[in-house]
Structure formats: structure tokens, C-alpha cells
């Protein structure tokens, strides 16, 4: 196992390197940066939903919390290093509390969906209504629906005047996405990750084997929130303003759509889904004929109906099939023993 983890790390680093070199030749780095950030956000949900089996309708809450935590602390502190850490920690702590409340109450999927959705809405409404000057945290006025502009953006750690922007900022975001991707890979290879997949498959069985499902789901949920929070901070730096729309249901819906389209249960799928759909949205935004929401909605419906597994699993299935056929004729038949008996279930 450790050997293949090293190999994975090298592959990820190489692929990231090549993409960072090639893509700017095709798409501007300003647009690419936000695609990378959305990729990270999608990965956060892809991890907890696709591997942890936790259906969260409010991943945008952690994205927004990360962005606001960054903006508020950056205004108060005056530089970006500590705020970047806070942007990861605050959403993670919030998710740990929320997750503990939900998972220790043994709530089913639908309830999880409702509660995460409602919590997002609560955050949205609360932040949206903080327009007056009396709503401030330290020196940072929350600004209600206008949001918070004008906070210090990312600087080189220890050098508050050395801002990172433009192409440099794109490289930082891409490197961070590569790093997060590697960490997620390592997590999924670890015992914790394998147990998480077991829990996704059958909670009852895992608890009958002695695993504390509630605690593990809570930790998984918090890890997802930490990644979403990091994406939020990066987004804040890119947009140079944070607004309540980060918390909106529309944002949550989009994250879910990225994961579905790209493919749940894969790491690559959500990242590609996010980048692809966000780029499509960017292209659609340049014309006025067809509405954006109409296309996004239609894509989601069509995928749920016709390709519920998403693009990446479908493609890799095709690839394996073709590859195996071509390389090893008869391989499939050797591996699977013929089974005449119908499987019966009692219940």
C-alpha cells in the first residue's frame, strides 16, 4: 500500500504540473483560478457524499463561512496567513458541532438533507440582514446583502506587503488543489477512509462490528467542511469581496450538480464536473439567448435520469472494458466463476 501511495502522489503532482502549464495557453488564468477553486469545493462534497455517504444539501454554508471567516479576520489582523487557517478551522468546528447534533440523533438521509439545507438558509438570512453599522466583528462591518469588500488579500506568509495576485495566485490555487487532492487520496487509502466507505455501504453492519459510526461521520463531515472553507477563503481572495450569495441554496445546488455530473465515488469526477460546468456557465454568461439556470437544471435532470453515476465512472467503465477486451481476451470469463444459481434473499 505505501508504495502505491507514493506512486499516486507522483502522478497527482505530474498531472497538476502539466495542467498548470498547458491550460493557461487556452483559458485566461483569472477564469482558470475560479475553476480550480470550484474544483476544490466540489471535491469537498465529493469526499463526504461519494465516499462517506453523507448527503449534504448545504455544502455552500461551509464555503461561505470560510470566505467570511477569512474576510473578517483579514480586516482585523491586517495580513492573510492566520486568516487562511481560520478559514479552514471555523467551518470545520461548525461542521463538527452540526454533525454531532445530526449524527448522534440517528437522523436519516432526508432529515440530513433538510437540516443542512435549513442551516444554510439560516446563515443566509442572518448575514443578509446585518446591513446596519451596529453589526460588526472587530473592525469588520458585516454589511448585510452588500457583503464585505476591501479586505487584505493573500500575501506571502511573513511579508504582509508582498501580495500574491494574477498568475501567481493561480499557481497557488492550483498547487493547493493538488495538495488537497493528494491528502484526500491518502485519507481514502488509510484505515479511516476505508472504514468510511464501509459505513457508506452499511452503517448497521459497521456498528455491529464495533465502529462508532456517529463519531466517524462527524469527523468526515468536519473534514469536508474544512476543505470547503479553504475553497471559500481562496474564492474570497479571487473575488475580493464576500457576499451572502455564497451561502445561497443556488450555490449548494451547483455543488451537488458538479458531483453528480462528474461522478460520485470518484475523486476526479467532482473536480472535472465543477471545472467543466463552471466553464460552460462562463461561456453561457457571454450570451443572452439561453438562460444559465435553465441549462444547469436541465443538465441535472438529464444526468439523474440517464447517467446517474456520472461521467468519470461511465468513462472508466468503458475504458476498462475496452482495455481488458483488447489486452486479455477471455480474462473476464476466467475471473468470474460461472454462477448458475439465482441469488436469493431472505428478509
Amino acid at each position: 500500500m505505501p508504495g502505491s501511495l507514493t506512486r499516486d502522489a507522483i502522478t497527482i503532482a505530474l498531472v497538476t504540473g502539466v495542467l498548470v502549464w498547458v491550460l493557461p495557453l487556452i483559458i485566461g488564468t483569472y477564469t482558470l483560478t475560479v475553476l480550480v477553486i470550484y474544483g476544490m469545493l466540489a471535491l469537498s462534497l465529493g469526499l463526504i457524499w461519494g465516499f462517506g455517504g453523507i448527503l449534504c444539501f448545504g455544502q455552500a454554508a461551509f464555503f461561505g463561512l470560510g470566505a467570511y471567516a477569512y474576510a473578517i479576520s483579514a480586516i482585523n489582523i491586517g495580513e492573510s496567513t492566520l486568516p487562511m487557517f481560520l478559514a479552514v478551522l471555523v467551518p470545520a468546528a461548525f461542521a463538527a458541532l452540526l454533525g454531532a447534533m445530526m449524527f448522534y440523533g440517528r437522523l436519516g438521509d432526508v432529515y440530513l438533507g433538510v437540516i443542512t439545507l435549513v442551516v444554510t438558509l439560516i446563515l443566509f438570512k442572518t448575514v443578509n440582514s446585518t446591513a446596519g453599522p451596529q453589526y460588526a466583528i472587530g473592525n469588520a462591518r458585516l454589511g448585510g446583502f452588500n457583503g464585505i469588500p476591501g479586505f487584505p488579500t493573500l500575501n506571502v506568509p511573513g511579508l504582509p506587503d508582498a501580495y500574491i495576485w494574477g498568475d501567481g495566485y493561480f499557481y497557488v490555487c492550483a498547487a493547493l488543489l493538488g495538495l488537497v487532492y493528494m491528502l484526500v487520496t491518502a485519507l481514502l487509502r488509510s484505515s479511516f477512509g476505508r472504514v468510511a466507505v464501509g459505513i457508506r455501504e452499511n452503517e448497521t453492519r459497521m456498528s455491529l462490528m464495533g465502529y462508532d459510526v456517529r463519531a466517524r461521520k462527524t469527523v468526515m463531515f468536519a473534514i469536508g467542511a474544512a476543505i470547503a472553507g479553504l475553497a471559500g477563503a481562496l474564492f474570497a481572495n479571487w473575488a475580493e469581496i464576500v457576499t451572502p450569495s455564497l451561502f445561497s441554496l443556488g450555490q449548494s445546488a451547483e455543488i451537488i450538480i458538479w458531483c453528480i455530473v462528474g461522478g460520485l465515488g470518484t475523486r476526479l469526477g467532482p473536480v472535472l464536473g465543477a471545472a467543466g460546468l463552471a466553464y460552460l456557465k462562463f461561456l453561457l454568461g457571454q450570451q443572452a439567448l439561453i438562460d444559465n439556470a435553465l441549462v444547469t437544471g436541465l443538465v441535472l435532470v438529464l444526468f439523474v435520469l440517464f447517467l446517474p453515476k456520472g461521467i468519470v465512472p461511465a468513462l472508466s467503465g468503458l475504458w476498462n472494458f475496452g482495455f481488458v477486451r483488447w489486452r486479455l481476451p477471455g480474462h473476464i470469463h476466467q475471473r468470474r466463476r460461472p454462477r448458475g444459481r439465482e441469488r436469493t434473499r431472505n428478509g
Binding site: V110, V118, V119, I122, K125, A293, G297, L300, V301, V304
Partner: protein
């Protein structure tokens, strides 16, 4: 004294509007276990149907009570045939697909009507209770909600289709085994649910400025009212709407409308955590 009367009316109005908002979703969820996240957009389209009809010279009450429900019901029928039909029994997938539909309809309405606010004026004037001005239209909403509940109850309890519906709710497999075509029941249910959504959107339209994204304001409230209500259709609807309506109005009066909304949502989270089976799943098992 007058203040109490006004608070009482506001309270009733809060409950009534929650019942109205949630009824369509409750019927569809209670009967065929589909959570229609496009419910808010169905309401929004009910509003647009009303405004369009009124602009064409139709009487406003006819537009609200007849045209909007039928129009949205038909849209629901198309949606059921094209999308929902393939997803029965897959709760999460129906939620995702209907979320997609919600975005689709927002986009569609934006393309047809534009992204501007439209509206119609309330057809009933306000009047005064003592020193306080009350909105006369609130009484109309209370009336519509109350009649809606009465009609639903008498249909479920007193008619043959109601009996079939209740049977299907409890044991869809048995209803099918007894020869009732589940396909037709599903279609009919989705039509009725959508029509109710359309009606709600139409009746509430005069109170709000209508934009294509208006549905978002309703869906969360409807969703939590239905889920918190639990398995009994009418008892659940009434009990959770009363609870949330009261909480909402009390905090609105005491502090501000925003705090009222937030209090409602917090109450929902707490309630779901404490009673994961919903109010009626915990207290009144087995009533419609």
C-alpha cells in the same frame, strides 16, 4: 384588547399561509413519497399564470382559484410523465431531479417574462380594528386555507377516491394488488399536488412582488413543515404549521421579521432533532 385581536389574526394568518404553502408538497410526499423540490417554482408559476390571466382581462378570483391551479397542474402532469415516473422509490434521486427542474423553471420563466418584478394589487381592501390597520386580504388567505383543509379532509374521508388514496398511502403494494393502477394513482396525485402548489402561489401572489426566483422563499418552509409534520397528512400539516406559524409570528412581533424567519428555521432544526419521526409520527400514529 384590539392588540390581542390583531395578534390573533396575524397568528392565524401565519398558520394559514404555512398550510397553503405546504399543502401541495404534503400531498405529493404523503401519497407517493416524492419530495418535489420544484414546489416553490410551481408556486411561482401559479403566480405568473394569475398575473398573465388578469392582464388578459380575466377576473382576478377566477384567475387565482381556477386558471392557476389548472395550468400548474398540467405542468405537473407533464413533469410526472417525463421525469418523476422513472424515479419512484428513489427518494434522493427524485429530490435531485426536482431540484434540477426548479432551476430549469427559473431559467424558463426568466426567458419568457424577464428578470423583473411584476405583481398585482390585492383585490380586497384593508380595514381597521380599533387603532390598528389590518390587511383584509389576510382573511381571504385564512378562508382559503381553512376551506382547503375541509375539502381535503372530506375527500380523503368521504369519497371513494379518498379511500383508495388512503389505502395507497399506507400500502402501495396492496393497492396495486387489489387492482388499482398505481400509474394512474401517481399521475392523479401529482396533478393534484401541483394544482395545490399553483393555487398557493396564485393566492399569495398579490402579497409579494413576483420574480422568477420567488419560489426559493417558499421551498424551505414547505419542506420543513411537511417533514416535521410526519406521516399523517392533515394532522401533520396542521400541527407543524401551527407550531411554526406561531413561532414565526411571535418573533416577528417581538423583534423583527428576519428574526421571525430565522426562529422558524431554528425551531424546525430543533424539532427534527428531538422528534425525528415528525410530530404525527410521534404523537398521533395512523391518522390521515
Amino acid at each position: 384588547m384590539d392588540l390581542y385581536a390583531v395578534v390573533l389574526v396575524e397568528m392565524l394568518y401565519g398558520v394559514a399561509s404555512l398550510v397553503l404553502i405546504s399543502a401541495g408538497l404534503a400531498v405529493v410526499f404523503g401519497m407517493i413519497k416524492v419530495i418535489n423540490l420544484a414546489h416553490g417554482e410551481f408556486m411561482m408559476m401559479g403566480g405568473y399564470a394569475t398575473i398573465t390571466a388578469v392582464n388578459l382581462g380575466v377576473n382576478v378570483f377566477v384567475a387565482m382559484l381556477v386558471i392557476a391551479p389548472v395550468a400548474v397542474g398540467l405542468i405537473g402532469l407533464v413533469v410526472e410523465r417525463l421525469v418523476i415516473r422513472h424515479l419512484y422509490g428513489r427518494l434522493v434521486d427524485t429530490m435531485l431531479a426536482t431540484w434540477g427542474l426548479s432551476l430549469f423553471f427559473i431559467g424558463l420563466v426568466t426567458m419568457v417574462f424577464g428578470n423583473t418584478t411584476t405583481g398585482i394589487s390585492t383585490p380586497i381592501p384593508g380595514f381597521a380594528i380599533g387603532d390598528y390597520q389590518v390587511n383584509g386580504y389576510n382573511f381571504f388567505i385564512i378562508l382559503v386555507s381553512a376551506s382547503l383543509l375541509v375539502v381535503m379532509l372530506s375527500v380523503l374521508k368521504g369519497t371513494r377516491s379518498g379511500l383508495i388514496a388512503r389505502g395507497t398511502m399506507q400500502r402501495p403494494d396492496m393497492a396495486a394488488a387489489l387492482g388499482y393502477n398505481p400509474d394512474r394513482i401517481n399521475m392523479a396525485t401529482f396533478f393534484c399536488g401541483s394544482a395545490l402548489s399553483g393555487l398557493a402561489g396564485a393566492v399569495l401572489a398579490p402579497l409579494v412582488g413576483l420574480v422568477p426566483t420567488s419560489g426559493g422563499a417558499y421551498i424551505a418552509k414547505a419542506f420543513i413543515t411537511v417533514i416535521a409534520g410526519g406521516p399523517s397528512l392533515i394532522a401533520g400539516l396542521l400541527s407543524s404549521a401551527s407550531l411554526f406559524g406561531a413561532v414565526n409570528q411571535i418573533f416577528t412581533f417581538a423583534i423583527s421579521p428576519v428574526v421571525g424567519e430565522v426562529a422558524l428555521l431554528v425551531a424546525a432544526v430543533v424539532l427534527l432533532r428531538v422528534l425525528p419521526k415528525g410530530v404525527t409520527g410521534t404523537f398521533f400514529k395512523g391518522r390521515p
